[in-house]
């Protein structure tokens, strides 16, 4: 068989050495073309990102020029006096995203743990589909549901209870003192948490299933409990991807616009309380873009958009550094 194949190849080459050479050259050329086309695609994405950032900076130049660095920490947002500062929206964006992470990450971990280790086989498919269905709900639905259903519920039952029971605690209680209106940071954080749970939990579930069975079985064999296997074997093995999944969710929480706009209350107030209405960068832009009646107002909004870019970038840079440090500590493991 081998001999025949050899002789056929030899015959081919003997018959058409020129053709083979041609073909090689053509292949090489096509390869390069493909390479260039792929590079162009990648650069297209990168350049549009860069273009977006620069056009934000350009559009916001008037605001940056007028207010300078104080734009970053000025809590005023006064359309009449034409005095704008980004502190309240930045604070609101960070606090709501942080709340969403505080709720969403442990819950997502629990869901992934349930789906990979606890649930009986027949239950895993339907439940994980249902959880992923949460990701398919458009953000405007979250916003409307939040405003018409969750906000009244929070205002009637949750915020009064928090105000009564946690409000009197010194220092810590300041977080939970506020009027029972339901709108505010806490409600926005909850809605955001529901929105990021499907992303984080499906990444976690996916990577938990990639852990080699031998590793887990060995741990079980020496008498580990399920929790110990997940905490000491599965989680260390998958931590890079888990952190990546968490930041995927955080990226969504930071930039989420519609749902937050509905439930955050749109008040340019700087308070420690989670029960008071506040504002976020995305919500401010969405709310006020059509109302911006002066060029400095419009410019301030675009400058806010640029800051959202910067905030997202910084957060992801931190994520990147954390991942690098993790993989360094783990040696060649990651």
């Amino acid at each position: 068989m081998k001999a025949t194949a050899m002789s056929q190849t030899e015959a081919l080459e003997a018959r058409a050495p020129v053709q083979t050479l041609d073909r090689e050259r053509r292949d090489h050329r096509n390869d390069r073309l493909f390479h260039l086309a792929m590079l162009a695609c990648a650069m297209f994405v990168f350049l549009s990102l860069l273009g977006a950032a620069f056009s934000m900076l350009w559009g916001g130049r008037e605001a940056f020029a007028t207010f300078g660095w104080s734009f970053l920490w000025n809590p005023d947002w006064d359309a009449v006096q034409k005095h704008f500062g980004a502190l309240v929206p930045i604070y609101g964006t960070l606090v709501t995203a942080l709340l969403a992470m505080l709720i969403g990450v442990p819950v997502s971990f629990g869901i992934a743990l349930f789906l990979t280790e606890i649930a009986p086989g027949w239950l895993r498919g339907p439940v994980s589909t249902a959880i992923e269905l949460l990701a398919g709900i458009p953000s405007i639905i979250y916003g409307m549901w939040g405003l018409f259903v969750l906000v009244p519920f929070m205002g009637e039952h949750v915020t009064p209870w928090l105000d009564d029971h946690l409000g009197p605690i010194p220092v810590f209680g300041a977080l939970f003192r506020g009027p029972p209106i339901g709108l505010g940071m806490l409600t926005a954080g909850i809605v955001l948490a529901i929105m990021v749970i499907p992303f984080i939990s499906s990444v976690m579930r996916e990577v938990f299933t990639t852990v080699p069975v031998q590793l887990k079985e060995s741990a079980y064999a020496v008498g580990n409990t399920t929790w110990e296997v997940v905490w000491d074997i599965v989680l260390p093995y998958t931590r890079t991807a888990v952190v990546g999944g968490i930041f995927l969710g955080l990226g969504r929480a930071l930039g989420e616009t519609m749902a937050v706009t509905f439930v955050l209350g749109n008040a340019h107030l700087l308070t420690a309380s989670l029960l008071e209405p506040g504002n976020s960068i995305a919500a401010t832009i969405a709310n006020e873009f059509t109302e911006a009646d002066s060029s400095i107002y419009l410019s301030s909004l675009v400058a806010l958009g640029f800051l959202l870019f910067v905030v997202t970038f910084i957060v992801l840079a931190i994520a990147r550094l954390m991942l690098n440090r993790l993989s360094q500590r783990a040696g060649s493991n990651a």
Partner: protein, 128 residues
């Protein structure tokens, strides 16, 4: 309590909490679906799909909104399809060719979350 019992207890607590977390997730899904279904189903009439948005106080449908959604997502899908055909799957060799501008190298899952928030895209499109 022996060490073994303590470990067993911890395991049981973890399992209960994980199950509770799953129920927590499903609870919101059920609540949202229930709200949209119970409030939306009574409005499902033929008029909804065949008539335009009415002036306040009169009957009508949402044909214009449906049409808008279909046209916009149709255009987006066509673009996406074209993008895919040009090479949605970027091989590793090509990725390596992209200079490592800070964090933008597409070699980990963090990159996929570096997407500009939709509101920024909106501003970009408006401003340029």
């Amino acid at each position: 309590m022996t060490a073994w019992q303590r470990r067993q207890a911890k395991d049981a607590v973890a399992k209960v909490l994980a199950t509770a977390a799953t129920l927590f997730g499903l609870f919101w899904l059920a609540w949202i679906l229930w709200t949209t279904a119970s409030k939306g189903l009574p409005a499902m009439k033929l008029d909804l799909f065949t008539k335009m948005t009415p002036p306040p106080g009169t009957d009508g449908g949402m044909l214009n909104a449906f049409a808008g959604s279909i046209i916009m997502s149709g255009i987006a899908v066509l673009h996406r399809h074209a993008d895919r055909n040009r090479g949605g799957h970027v091989p590793g060799r090509v990725r390596a060719a992209i200079p490592a501008w800070a964090l933008l190298r597409s070699d980990s899952s963090t990159t996929s979350c570096f997407r500009a928030p939709s509101i920024v895209i909106g501003l970009f499109v408006y401003a340029s």
